[in-house]
């Protein structure tokens, strides 16, 4: 076999480093939004109002029942078309809406992960002992104070291990953004490999970069998890 590792390293790695920046930016923004979305959806689903409950439950099921890849396609290609049609029907014939690929990617990841994270928070909130709520109420806190100051912090702390897993998964899932032309790691590697035919080298390096991103994070999460155990 005639492999050209030096060439691949020298030319691909600098481009991948730029890709890493894209991956990190996308992941961090999407994850933060997903956590906020997840928390709000979880709280909405815990209200007594049947309509609100049902609405968000349906939304979560739709998101969880369709693949992330399809969602990304839909947001990037289909949603602008729909908006165009709406605008046209309102008399704006020159409408030509387009999202930036990164924005569409962040939207897709946030919505998809938001749905899963809402389930995590929901069950974490439900698993907090009712006595926590009652002891807060008995001290004189209102229901919403109890929710935000006592129950949600504990539910959040209990969710950290699962959230950590989702964070690592999300880093890897950014590779799906290649399909909507975000120049993350996979797209850069594809481009390079197709130009140089250094296929084996390129994709091996790519896999290595993903490992370098996710392994330290996984370790960090394990450490954090151990720290949290002390509180129980």
């Amino acid at each position: 076999m005639n492999l050209n590792w030096t060439d691949a390293f020298n030319n691909l790695v600098p481009s991948l480093l730029q890709g890493v920046v894209v991956v990190l930016q996308t992941t961090i923004s999407s994850f933060l939004i997903a956590v906020v979305v997840g928390l709000l959806v979880a709280i909405c689903r815990l209200t007594q109002l049947k309509i609100v409950k049902g609405f968000f439950a349906t939304l979560v099921e739709i998101v969880r029942g369709t693949p992330l890849l399809v969602q990304l396609f839909y947001i990037y290609y289909v949603v602008p078309l729909i908006l165009d049609n709406i605008l046209k029907s309102m008399g704006n014939s020159s409408a030509n809406i387009q999202f930036s690929a990164v924005a569409a990617g962040i939207a897709g990841l946030s919505i998809n992960y938001g749905a899963y994270i809402s389930e995590v928070f929901r069950s974490a909130i439900l698993s907090i002992d009712d006595g926590q709520k009652e002891s807060g109420l008995a001290l004189g806190f209102t229901y919403y104070q109890v929710l935000w100051k006592i129950i949600i912090p504990q539910a959040f702390a209990n969710s950290i291990p699962v959230l950590g897993n989702y964070l690592v998964m999300m880093i890897k899932d950014t590779s799906l953004l290649a399909i909507i032309s975000v120049s993350e790691l996979l797209l850069r590697t594809q481009t390079y490999a197709s130009q140089t035919f250094e296929t084996i080298e390129s994709y091996t390096i790519l896999a290595g970069v993903y490992l370098l991103l996710s392994l330290p994070l996984s370790q960090l999460m394990k450490l954090l998890e151990k720290k949290m155990k002390v509180l129980h």
Partner: protein, 244 residues
């Protein structure tokens, strides 16, 4: 004449068709210690929880400091600041250090300054004998210590009345004493308290009045001497014979 702090007027409570409190009335005077005894399922917890509106009675009225707390005119959360409660399961906030468990409510509800709240918390911890534990997390405490912190936490809001729902029932036998000692100390300090308990020795020792409940009724009440030495009602006699 002693001042009546709370007056419970014929309250009832039902869950669906299940009537668990039946026309229960009692007064509690300032500084009085009342112990409630009775078999499991007799409605003791439900009664106690009605007093701080964790349960809403389905009939009757409760007058606290000359005001009805059931007519919808009071703010329930404000009212509860006057009535502390200690639960069987402690329910400390496990993400917070002991001292922060105690200062949380005064700081956030009474807008007390951190230094003042902590100074008062230290005094309370000293009172329950746990000052040296102020900077640890609840998970490292024994059950008895947790319950003493829970008592300090309730006291931090400076309540007029303190409710205890079987404060020692979840504890290993060797830890019961330290918690009862703290409650006894509060009684000596003049704290007004209603204590649901299975500790008959404690009730006899500390209570000004003992109430025996069964089947959702107050069957009999009187001084510890009257209840424990000369119970009038047959059911009180049977209950005491069974557990003593």
């Amino acid at each position: 004449m002693e001042e009546i702090m709370m007056s419970v007027k014929s309250i009832s409570k039902s869950y669906g068709s299940n009537l668990v409190l039946k026309d229960v009335s009692m007064d509690i005077k300032k500084g009085e210690v009342v112990c409630i005894i009775g078999p499991s399922g007799s409605g003791k917890s439900t009664f106690l929880r009605c007093l701080n509106l964790l349960e809403i009675p389905t009939a009757g009225d409760i007058i606290f400091q000359d005001q009805s707390i059931l007519n919808g005119k009071i703010k329930v959360n404000k009212y509860r600041q006057n009535v502390g409660m200690v639960f069987q399961g402690y329910y400390l906030f496990n993400l917070k250090k002991v001292i922060d468990n105690i200062t949380m409510a005064p700081r956030s509800l009474n807008k007390k300054k951190k230094e003042l709240a902590e100074k008062e918390a230290c005094e309370l911890l000293d009172k329950v004998g746990l000052l040296e534990k102020k900077d640890v997390y609840p998970s490292s405490l024994s059950g008895g210590q947790k319950q003493r912190v829970a008592i300090a936490r309730a006291l931090a809001m400076d309540p007029e009345l303190l409710l205890f729902d079987e404060p020692t029932s979840a504890l290993d036998p060797e830890l019961v004493g330290e918690v009862l000692k703290v409650i006894k100390k509060l009684a000596n300090d003049g704290m007004t308290m209603i204590v649901v308990t299975h500790e008959m020795g404690f009730a006899r020792d500390v209570a000004d009045r003992v109430i025996f409940m069964e089947g959702g009724y107050i069957v009999e009440q009187g001084t510890p001497k009257e209840i424990f030495e000369n119970p009038q009602n047959l059911r009180t006699q049977e209950f005491l014979a069974r557990i003593l």
